[in-house]
Point group: C2
Chain length 304, copies 2
């Protein structure tokens, strides 16, 4: 698959994801007779819409497509994963956390609204992700909905994303450098767990065999690690325009990254090695996996 | 059922809930091979353990017991509801929200730890609630696990608790008094939705008929409304020791309450009327419902 074909596919899926998020967060889509607090819904939309390349839902959807799955339920499930990602950005940007005033080149949620609304928008988006995942409209089989809900929760909580963010904050405060193993662990939790779940969850959605599901999980784990190193390389290279946020901030605040520890050259080599590890995990699927193979190579190449 | 018998039952269930939360938040109980960020787990335990009368899990458990249900899965599901309540307290107390330094007579989470950890502990506790609810250890039937997950999410999100908190913050800022209907709506979302789900969820857990489930939902709705008015009466009466937090603060910050609008006497009458409405919703269950009847009367009487 050429780079252009991959970019077009990524953009296509991204547009579907955007439209589905827009619908899920539309004024009539939310159930119940309760009043809709307009400001909170606006903040949830601000946090969830018009954002990023939608890598997590892309992985979820393409992993399910590998097994012939497609359709609206798949888009809903993929959007649930993206909602968790978006909530985490809104909370990570808060003054008490990473204190970032910019996100994707726009004011962060607590700047566009206010701190309380940004906290609540994150809370409500996280909550809504589980609402969407557990809903019969997402998948006909309640076993699969439960497995997906459980997997999403585990990737996002104490043993996953939230735990990784805490380890990051702890490290920043302790002011002692992390070891290579500690950085790897932190990143596997903070960003890796949800990326891994995105790929594995797509296989779960498609009711893939255990072996296939494990293969997608291995792919997602390696891709997630490559993705984080690529992000750290971008940050170190200081391309402010491409990142849409203040640059070299993480390094300046003593946040351990593998780039800081290994240097740019070795970090690039590790990133490429992990991307190939991701590709190798897909060997059993042959040609069918070309989109996911391209996704792994794209992850590595975006930081050139 | 005598007041003493009811108090003993409430304490018994509370002790079971405490033990189950302690186990669910134990160092070995969380799945996966990931590192456990010790500070985050400590903060989650601080937020969830040793708290309150456990009214929500009590309602959940006693509603299920009405249909002959009991056991560890029931305790797990009830604890998931309580986790959502506890997370909301930790976030509501944050400086950007209600800015409360005390909770149940102890430092609030952001005072005992720090703001970032309090935000993350709330996030992780909310996430873990859905983990517990969707887990096969909680209920054998995945349809019921999905229904409970969905119900919990809807009671807690934009159309429920989080939305109600936003309406409360909006009202505080707007500095224009809310109407009776607006206060009722706000409270039905902010505290009512989760109390209602607690009672209705117990019936869902027990796979009760739709009619029985609706009756428990009506009970929970009326009890929730009575509970909030009783809380506002306690606040207005200024019994600092009984509340464990600064008193008359809500009123001082222009937060609309029915006590402020109607006066103490009329508020007491409305509270008692709602408690009787809750009792009446249980008529179809006869003697079997004596514990839930006592719970409705207790809710009214605690504010004397």
């Amino acid at each position: 698959m050429s780079n252009n074909d991959f970019a077009a596919r990524l953009a296509d899926v991204g547009a579907d994801v955007e439209a589905t998020l827009d619908r899920l967060l539309g004024p009539l889509a939310l159930s119940g007779e309760a009043a809709r607090p307009a400001r909170l819904l606006a903040a949830m939309r601000y946090v969830a819409l018009d954002g990023g390349k939608r890598v997590r839902p892309f992985l979820f959807i393409e992993a399910a497509r590998l097994f012939g799955c497609d359709g609206d339920g798949l888009l809903r499930a993929a959007c649930a994963v993206e909602m968790v990602h978006c909530y985490s950005l809104a909370h990570d940007d808060l003054p008490a956390m990473d204190d970032d005033d910019l996100r994707r080149g726009k004011p962060s949620a607590h700047k566009a609204f206010d701190e309380a609304t940004a906290i609540l928008a994150g809370d409500a988006l996280l909550t809504y992700a589980f609402d969407v995942m557990a809903d019969a409209a997402t998948h006909a089989d309640p076993h699969i909905r439960c497995d997906l809900t459980l997997g999403l929760a585990r990737a996002s909580g104490l043993g996953g994303m939230a735990g990784g963010q805490q380890l990051d904050l702890d490290a920043e405060r302790a002011n002692t450098p992390l070891s290579h193993a500690e950085i790897t662990q932190l990143q596997a939790m903070k960003t890796g767990a949800l990326l891994r779940f995105a790929a594995e969850g797509g296989a779960m959605f498609a009711n893939a065999s255990n072996v296939d599901r494990v293969a997608l999980g291995d792919y997602g784990r390696a891709l997630g690690a490559a993705f984080q190193i690529a992000d750290d390389i971008l940050d170190a290279e200081g391309n402010e325009a491409a990142m849409g946020k203040r640059v070299a901030k993480d390094a300046g605040r003593n946040k351990g990254t593998l780039v800081g520890m290994l240097g740019l050259e070795a970090a690039r080599a590790l990133r490429d090695e992990l991307a190939e590890e991701a590709v190798n995990a897909l060997a059993r699927f042959g040609e069918k996996a070309e989109v996911l193979v391209a996704a792994a190579r794209f992850t590595a190449s975006r930081a050139s």
